[in-house]
């Protein structure tokens, strides 16, 4: 290459050629391929220009290099531009070809749900757990002693008639109340005691409103100076947390052999707030649990001195709360594993 004029001509013709070639291109891929051939360091029209540097006289080298680089930059811009143009078009096509009917159904990710009993149980446990209660789970099969006798219900006691018991032998039975757990706890542990004891209980009752198996949660506090007011205070807090702000409790006299005084606890109707509705049968109150001050005979039987310690106990029916809260109208539905029921309550 003799002089720069010659170079100019050559660069012009390459430019023209690239322009002409790019005109013909229709895809970004073909632009990419063409670009590769142009810039190939051995055979490429631009790529090979640098290899010719050696043949250039020294005094012209600087100018040669500059022009070639300018050329390179120009070509690169050209390619970029074309590339951009095609990519845009191609993306547009791609997007158009991938058009969806977004109203079509989702691909299902199936998840399951906890049983309503578990949901209620967890809520109650969380509430009492945060108040310092431990969870004690007793056994479903109990002895007559723990289920009755130690709970101040000796063999001749009419309260035994209050609960129809399933017997497994003379000594063993299916517990009729989670209260049976109280005694185990008090025998094993000295005050302060704060436990809740959830579990399945059994009574020989099977009709529209009774299931032979259901669940209870027993609560027990034994410490110094525990009173009926403490029971009331704690239950107020409990119903407020489970049924919502503004609910309150009402105590009324009742009878359980292992508490004295014994109370039935009503909660102000959380649906009508006391005005009277179908849920509370127009009374403004809903019966939710039984409770009382632990009978001193029960404490004595467990070796706890009633002159030093006192306590309260309460028993909550889990299904009752579940049915009230979720409006489930038949207790049997909770034990049939009908997926239409199980998949409905989603807390």
């Amino acid at each position: 290459m003799a002089d720069l004029n010659e170079l100019s001509e050559k660069l012009s013709s390459i430019k023209a050629e690239i322009k002409a070639e790019l005109e013909k291109k229709e895809t970004s891929k073909s632009v990419f391929e063409y670009r590769k051939t142009i810039f190939d360091s051995k055979t490429g029209k631009i790529g090979s220009l640098m290899r010719e540097m050696g043949k250039i006289p020294n005094e012209m080298k600087a100018e040669y290099g500059k022009r070639v680089n300018e050329m390179k930059a120009w070509a690169q811009d050209m390619f970029e531009e074309m590339d951009e143009k095609f990519r845009k078009e191609e993306m547009k096509h791609r997007y158009e070809s991938e058009k969806l009917d977004v109203t079509m159904p989702a691909r299902e990710i199936k998840i399951g749900y906890l049983h309503p009993n578990t949901l209620i149980r967890n809520r109650i446990v969380d509430i009492f757990g945060s108040m310092g209660f431990e969870i004690y789970e007793g056994t479903e099969i109990e002895t007559d002693y723990y289920n009755f006798t130690a709970l101040n219900t000796p063999d001749d006691h009419p309260a035994r008639d209050m609960q129809d018991t399933f017997y497994l032998s003379d000594k063993f039975l299916l517990r009729t109340q989670t209260s049976a757990g109280q005694i185990h706890v008090m025998e094993a542990k000295k005050p302060p005691i704060k436990i809740i004891s959830p579990g399945k209980v059994f009574r020989s009752d099977d009709d529209a409103t009774h299931s032979p198996m259901f669940s209870q949660m027993e609560g027990l506090v034994v410490d110094k100076g525990i009173t009926l007011c403490d029971l009331k205070g704690m239950l107020d807090e409990f119903v407020r947390r489970i049924f919502g702000e503004g609910t309150s409790t009402r105590l009324r006299p009742s009878y359980f052999p292992f508490t004295e005084p014994s109370v039935e606890v009503d909660v102000s109707c959380f649906q009508c707030h006391g005005k009277g509705c179908k849920l509370c049968k127009g009374t403004g109150w809903i019966e939710v649990l039984g409770a009382g001050v632990v009978n001193k005979k029960v404490l004595e039987g467990c070796g706890i001195d009633p002159d030093v310690y006192s306590g309260f106990a309460f028993g909550i029916g889990i299904e009752r709360i579940a049915m009230l809260k979720y409006g489930i109208n038949n207790i049997k539905l909770l034990f049939e594993s009908d997926l239409r029921v199980l998949e409905q309550i989603r807390e």
């Binding site: 099969i141 006691h157 032998s169 704060k194 100076g225 007011c229 009978n295 594993s337």
Partner: protein, 806 residues
């Protein structure tokens, strides 16, 4: 217990409304389950005075002009035979409600509203009524049983509401009595409470009577079982004249749903309801040997009770015998052989106390219950036993139906019927309640309950009436005080004196909840099934005769056979749950249960059986297969941070080639598989269904507490995809295990492809695995990994003849 307001008012003055009375009873521990006006269905019925009464020709009807007071004089057509001018009868005005009767004019068929009628062309502006039509019976109101108009007294005010005149304005309260208050199982018992809560005076029923000189010489009572009959009182009554009871007594019995029989029998029933003491009257003429013997029955001894049923007794039953034979089943029912008849002229009255559990158990065992057994089962106190006999003898005189002899026998075990002393600390009473009840209120309340309180300093001395057997300690006193003082005085406090405790779930409870939530995330919903099932459940899953699961605990008194065995497996109920869903058209789903199985040490039970936590998973639907279900099972292992292994296995109720034992570190911890098609067909199930049972109790050792973070590897992992050709019968687990064991840097082995085809040969297959090598402290070079791999290849070739697929 039914309590008519009018009857209650005999013993206590009540000047408040029925609603207020209900509220008062409720507040002191007596829930009124129901209350209703006796004439609640009757309205707008007034005293009608028939001014004119002319027969309508050729009919049995009369056309009357009836004065209805304010409602004016009305034309009424009447078909009754006793309608007459000058008579006063109940008149149902237009819009009144009365009972509609059947053709017999006696059977009530519902309530009807009176409209303007027309009989044989004559308008009738109301209806003259019979007793039945306004809800009365002969027992409730004399003359009401007549098949015609009810004749009202001449002094009844024309136009006045008929209800108060015939007692239809009375109220009945159905009151629930708690088991600790057997003394309130009577109308007088309730009256005592009402007097206390209202602070009004209590009127005791009259108990006076006069004994004649007459004696039944030689009559004796022997109690051979004083442990279950601590008191037996007998009194001989002669010159008995059996007749209907007086109207007032018949009305009261009718109001509580009892049918009056005769004066003697009615006295016993009346006292049972009035005082709560069951009584019995024997026809003395049929008692042999002038004696009563109270003893345990002999095994096989028989008695025919009043309801003409023969019972075979045993030594746990208590009988009342004369000198020869049983004449009553104590506390439950009298014998037919000594029943009061119209011809009875001399009777022996019995008032006794029998042990409550003896009566309860006998009544249950013999399937024979009565008002008497119900009262005795709840407990009768001897104070009332003594009182009741006096009351019976008083009523004999009052009803003039016999003479009270001076033969009176009272055997007892020395229990006093005097009030007993109870000393309690006022501070302790208030200590139970957590409030300070003003001393004046405490004294007022206890006085109202007839405890005669005397206060000295902190010490309160009470005289507890013998009928209050429930009063034993300061806690009982606290309850008496607060139920009368009012539970609304109890204000919530938050255990100011209690120690602070930590509380919350323990590890086991936390882990189980974690597993439940993980299974939910895997698409399974939690079910809960009964802890008992049917013996046929064991057959459903084809358990062999000697399977341990067949040694299940039996319930002695099950509701029915289907709920008679404590479950030893969760699978049958899960299969049935899937069946129920499929029958309802739910054709896909996942259910799990976490519950106990019950494994006895020996039968019958002599010690607590094991209650073992078990998980059962049921999956069904077209999209489910063995491996999708295996994925759900793996969730349990993942949650516990452990791994399960699987071995082909067999179960009678599962697919022979799609069943696996589940193992954890070599220990068998459950099984899973597809339910076999025969069972699917038998149960009318519609889709492939799978089941897994995991012995969660064996996995407790893997429950982990706090987790610690494992730092990420400092050097990149090396992955190799390796595909081996081997005999078809070699399992994935075998190769996987070999790969894992080949190098300790391997952290994951995953099968990603299985191929069988002609190219490989009939008995060959290929399996491709991704193997991950995770470097430790040193960087892993490609060469090093190649070295591990070639070692692995050699082992696989030697052991299984597996070669790398080229």
């Amino acid at each position: 217990m039914l309590v008519p307001l009018s009857w209650l008012k005999e013993y206590v003055d009540i000047n408040i409304s029925v609603d207020e009375l209900e509220e008062k009873l409720f507040s002191c521990g007596f829930e009124v389950e129901e209350k209703y006006e006796v004439g609640h269905d009757i309205s707008k019925v007034v005293v009608g005075y028939v001014e004119e009464c002319e027969p309508i020709p050729d009919t049995h009807l009369h056309l009357c002009k009836v004065n209805a007071g304010e409602a004016g004089v009305l034309q009424i057509c009447c078909g009754a035979d006793n309608v007459r001018a000058g008579g006063k009868f109940p008149l149902a005005l237009i819009g009144a409600t009365v009972y509609a009767t059947a053709k017999d004019h006696k059977t009530v068929e519902g309530v009807m509203t009176i409209g303007q009628g027309k009989l044989r062309g004559y308008d009738s502006f109301g209806m003259l009524c019979s007793g039945v039509e306004i809800g009365l019976t002969e027992d409730m109101y004399e003359g009401a049983g007549y098949n015609g108009l009810l004749v009202l007294p001449d002094d009844a005010v024309t136009g006045a509401d008929v209800k108060p005149i015939v007692g239809l304005d009375d109220w009945i309260f159905d009151i629930a009595i708690t088991a600790n208050r057997p003394d309130c199982q009577s109308i007088f018992g309730i009256a005592r409470e009402v007097a206390a809560v209202l602070g009004t005076k209590l009127h005791e029923p009259a108990l006076d009577y006069t004994e004649t000189e007459v004696k039944k010489e030689g009559f004796a009572v022997k109690v051979a079982a004083p442990d279950i009959c601590p008191r037996y009182i007998g009194h001989y009554v002669y010159d008995v004249k059996i007749a209907p009871s007086p109207a007032w007594m018949r009305r009261r019995l009718a109001l509580i749903g009892q049918t009056p029989i005769s004066n003697l029998v009615d006295i016993t029933n009346y006292i049972l309801n009035e005082l709560g003491q069951p009584m019995h009257a024997f026809d003395y003429a049929y008692l042999e040997g002038d004696q009563i013997n109270v003893r345990r029955a002999e095994d096989g001894e028989k008695i025919v009770t009043l309801d003409e049923k023969e019972l075979t007794l045993n030594s746990s039953n208590l009988v009342i015998c004369d000198g020869v034979k049983p004449v009553a089943l104590a506390g439950i029912m009298g014998g037919l052989n000594s029943e009061i008849l119209d011809s009875t002229t001399e009777v022996l009255f019995e008032a006794a106390k029998f042990a409550r559990d003896n009566i309860r158990k006998s009544s249950r065992a013999l399937g024979k219950a009565s008002d008497s057994s119900a009262r005795f089962s709840k407990g009768v106190d001897e104070y009332t036993t003594v009182m009741a006999m006096k009351r019976a003898l008083h009523l004999i005189e009052e009803l003039d139906c016999g003479k009270v002899s001076s033969t009176h026998v009272d055997t007892n075990t020395g229990n006093t019927i005097e009030a007993s002393e109870l000393k309690v600390s006022v501070n302790k009473v208030n200590g139970v309640l957590g409030i300070t009840v003003p001393t004046d209120d405490i004294l007022r309340i206890l006085k109202g309950l007839a405890f005669d309180p005397v206060l000295e300093g902190d010490e309160l001395t009470l005289r507890v009436p013998a009928y209050r057997e429930d009063m034993e300690s300061y806690q009982d006193v606290a309850e008496e005080v607060i139920r009368m003082y009012g539970y609304d005085h109890v204000k919530g406090t938050f255990m100011p004196t209690a120690e602070v405790t930590l509380g919350g779930y323990n590890l086991e409870q936390k882990t189980e909840l974690k597993i439940k939530r993980a299974l939910c995330a895997a698409g399974a919903s939690e079910g809960v099934h009964y802890s008992f099932f049917s013996p046929s459940s064991l057959d459903l899953i084809g358990l062999p005769e000697d399977a341990w699961e067949r040694k299940a605990i039996r319930i002695m008194n099950p509701i029915n056979e289907d709920l008679s065995l404590m479950r030893t497996t969760l699978a049958p109920q899960m299969i049935q749950a899937m069946q129920r869903n499929q029958k309802k058209g739910i054709l896909e789903g996942r259910i799990y249960e976490l519950g106990n199985i019950f494994v006895p040490g020996s039968l019958p039970l002599t010690e607590y059986p094991e209650e073992l936590e078990t998980i059962c998973i049921g999956c069904f639907g077209e999209d489910e297969d063995f491996f999708s279900v295996k994925g759900v099972v793996e969730v349990v292992a993942d949650t516990l941070g452990t791994e399960f292994e699987y071995e082909a296995s067999q179960k009678p109720f599962l697919h022979p080639y799609r069943t696996a034992k589940i193992l954890c570190n070599g220990e068998e911890v459950g099984y899973m598989g597809q339910i076999k098609y025969e069972l699917i067909d038998e149960l009318d199930m519609r889709v492939d269904s799978f089941i897994a049972q995991i012995d969660l109790y064996k996995l407790k050792k893997y429950y982990a507490g706090e987790q610690t973070f494992i730092p990420l590897p400092r050097f990149p992992e090396e992955k190799r995809d390796l595909c081996f050709v081997m005999d078809k019968n070699i399992t994935c687990a075998q190769i996987e295990k070999e790969i894992k064991n080949s190098c300790e840097l391997i952290t994951d082995v995953k099968l990603f492809d299985v191929y069988e085809g002609m190219q490989l040969g009939m008995d060959k297959k290929s399996m491709a695995f991704t193997v991950v090598y995770t470097p430790g402290e040193e960087e892993l070079t490609s060469d090093k990994v190649d070295g591990y791999v070639s070692g692995l290849l050699e082992t696989l070739k030697d052991k299984y003849g597996a070669v790398l697929r080229s």
